[in-house]
């Protein structure tokens, strides 16, 4: 069992979420009407759907609600909150199952959330939605097909989708894009498969920021980075495409623009244990010329030889995404999740020479099947309090930085 390791960061609270400490890639913070601060987390897999945790006092987190999924072969994994609405992804284990799509919940009363709408993406070729992004009221984006989207290769099944939520009880498609060649009937050829780790050409994160409502920043798994011009929702256009896979090992996860610095932060997700798909890193790209992205550095990480044998995955995954709302926003400080590498904080004031300035690696959670912490995702609030979650058993870790 590994004990905790830290630098310039300390644990101020830990909650195993009533014994359901397996959390996915969805963390979002709501400031309720009565002033309570509710952290919503999506579970990585069944039986739980999502949990609401009262973090009004971040030193004393308390689960106030927990919901169940309808069966064990669907997962929620991702959620987002804007105002009193919450969007929750539903992805099934195999193609053709249900429910597959995006659920919309009314969370005005956080202890009694009500599902009020559902975007149904179920089809013989669909697993539904893997990721949602909702940072403003009235719309969301997601990695999700339409019911009639038939990919040529089964793993290319989650294109870019924007849903209009002006009536949240009836989410409707307002923008839909897939990489030419990935849909049955396309003239373009099917994009080449990754020679070692074929995970498909499809969306992972689908970030759109209110500062640039004409751009969608897509982590396109084995397809790398894609920036879309979505100013015309009926005719989205690819602005740029940067793909380091291969030689890199695929699974581009998040593309986060730093608008005030003309930089992009791009994360890879490690998806294999024991360093099999190493290197999985977080990259800094020069985006001064949007159509010609140039990688200029990657975030320093501890040696793979030291961390990979600890158990589970070791490598990049996600970064706090500077979303609007009660959220930390910085173009100099990045807070990232690195599975058994824990939570790591980097100063990119000089983007050519990023520096690691803090980290926290929790001890092995009790009941973890991989024998090490697996920090899956992080959220940093406007007071710089970090909420980090374990993928298997550890639940929620609340951390404070001293940087």
């Amino acid at each position: 069992m590994m004990s905790a390791e830290s630098k310039n960061m300390r644990l101020i609270a830990h909650d195993t979420l009533r014994g359901f400490g397996n959390v996915g890639e969805g963390i979002s913070l709501q400031v309720a009407k009565d002033g309570r601060r509710i952290l919503w987390v999506a579970h990585e897999s069944a039986p739980k759907n999502f949990s609401g945790v009262d973090v009004t006092d971040p030193r004393k987190p308390r689960v106030v609600v927990q919901t169940d999924l309808p069966h064990n072969t669907v997962r929620s994994n991702s959620l987002e909150v804007a105002g009193n609405l919450m969007a929750v992804a539903h992805q099934t284990q195999t193609w053709g199952e249900e429910p597959a799509g995006v659920a919309i919940w009314d969370i005005e009363n956080p202890t009694e959330p009500r599902e009020i709408g559902f975007y149904d993406a179920a089809s013989p070729w669909s697993r539904g939605c893997h990721q949602v992004w909702m940072v403003d009221e009235g719309w969301l984006t997601c990695a999700c097909p339409t019911k009639d989207f038939q990919p040529r290769e089964k793993w290319d099944d989650q294109p870019f989708m924007m849903l209009d939520l002006s009536d949240p009880t009836r989410p409707t498609e307002s923008c839909f894009w897939w990489l030419p060649g990935t849909r049955e009937g396309d003239e373009a050829p099917v994009p080449p498969r990754h020679p070692r780790f074929n995970q498909g050409w499809r969306c992972h994160n689908t970030n759109v920021y209110p500062e640039r409502m004409d751009r969608a920043y897509l982590g396109y798994i084995d397809g790398g980075v894609i920036i879309l011009d979505i100013s015309d929702k009926s005719n989205p256009q690819m602005v740029t495409h940067w793909n380091p896979n291969p030689p890199n090992n695929g699974f581009t996860h998040t593309v986060m623009p730093l608008f005030d610095r003309d930089l992009l932060v791009v994360t890879d997700e490690c998806v294999y244990d024991a360093g099999e798909d190493w290197p999985k890193r977080h990259w800094i790209l020069d985006a001064r010329v949007e159509t010609n992205l140039v990688p200029i550095s990657s975030l320093p990480m501890p040696p793979v030889e030291e961390f990979a044998p600890r158990g589970g995955r070791y490598g990049g995954h996600n970064v706090h995404e500077n979303r609007p709302g009660p959220s930390f926003r910085s173009s100099d400080i990045l807070v990232s999740s690195f599975f058994n590498g824990g939570v790591r904080v980097h100063d990119i004031s000089d983007p050519y020479e990023p520096k690691e300035i803090a980290y926290y690696v929790p001890e092995t959670p009790e009941g973890s099947p991989v024998g090490a912490i697996q920090i899956n995702d992080i959220y940093v609030d406007e007071n710089a309090i970090i909420y980090a979650v374990d993928r298997w058993a550890g639940g929620l870790y609340v951390l404070e930085m001293d940087i």
């Binding site: 005030d260 003309d262 930390f328 910085s330 173009s331 100099d332 000089d350 983007p351 930085m401 940087i403």
Partner: protein, 249 residues
């Protein structure tokens, strides 16, 4: 805390990302003429100075040497200096570059709005000095300024003689003023800098992107010393001239 002085003044390195503590010795142990921080221009403000450090007061270490024939007119000189100060913001700092361009737009606008009066004040030397030269009377912005603070004699503060970085600093005649123009959540060293500077009597303000873009209100936001920067100046000077124009007596 208070502003640290050496060589009879406040020495402020600027235009660079950081100044290391190992370079501190240069300030205390070396004659000022020999102080050389690689890549960091310096200004020195006499302790207790009650006049602004103006654009025309500074000797700029231009990376690209100005060519006199290209800078024959005031507007070209102003543009050259604006570009130089924008370069000192660094490649990746758009908010700071936006501030520099917004500031120059605002001081140009101020001169244009007072054109008739300022043209009249040029009377005796009209033709030698141009209206645009009045722009150089504005306080000079020092982008990425490193302010050295020191503990008060009876303090046990460990923060002694360290630099704190401001996005931009001015010596405005009333004292040192620091602006923070980068968006985002302030934590760590930024907050410590704001607190330490404020505690040392430095005026600190935060400006949004919208503030920096608004040439109509930016000078008001910067404070009274910026509202009208030409009184007290008999004739405008240019930092590109070998010497000021003598006022005909």
């Amino acid at each position: 805390m208070k502003l640290a002085s050496s060589h009879g003044g406040y020495v402020i390195p600027y235009g660079t990302g950081s100044v290391s503590s190992s370079q501190l010795a240069a300030f205390d142990d070396t004659p000022l003429c020999e102080v050389n921080l690689p890549g960091a221009p310096l200004v020195r403000v006499p302790c207790g100075s009650r006049v602004p450090l103006r654009l025309h007061d500074v000797t700029y270490p231009f990376a690209r040497q100005p060519v006199s024939q290209d800078l024959a007119h005031g507007r070209d000189q102003v543009a050259f200096l604006e570009a130089h100060l924008a370069e000192l913001c660094g490649v990746w700092n758009k908010p700071l570059r936006r501030f520099i361009h917004g500031y120059f737009a605002a001081i140009r606008r101020h001169v244009q709005e007072a054109a008739s009066e300022l043209e009249e004040r040029l009377g005796p030397v009209a033709g030698l000095a141009e209206l645009e030269h009045w722009v150089f009377a504005a306080p000079t912005p020092l982008p990425r300024a490193h302010i050295r603070l020191t503990a008060l004699p009876d303090s046990d503060s460990p923060d002694n003689g360290e630099f704190h970085t401001a996005d931009v600093a001015f010596w405005d005649g009333a004292g040192l003023m620091c602006c923070f123009v980068s968006g985002g959540t302030m934590i760590g060293k930024q907050l410590r800098a704001v607190n330490a500077l404020t505690e040392s009597g430095v005026r600190v303000i935060r400006l949004s992107a919208a503030d920096c873009n608004d040439q109509h209100t930016l000078l008001d936001l910067l404070g009274a010393p910026f509202a009208d920067f030409t009184p007290g100046i008999r004739l405008p000077q240019s930092p590109f001239g070998s010497q000021g124009i003598p006022y005909p007596e």
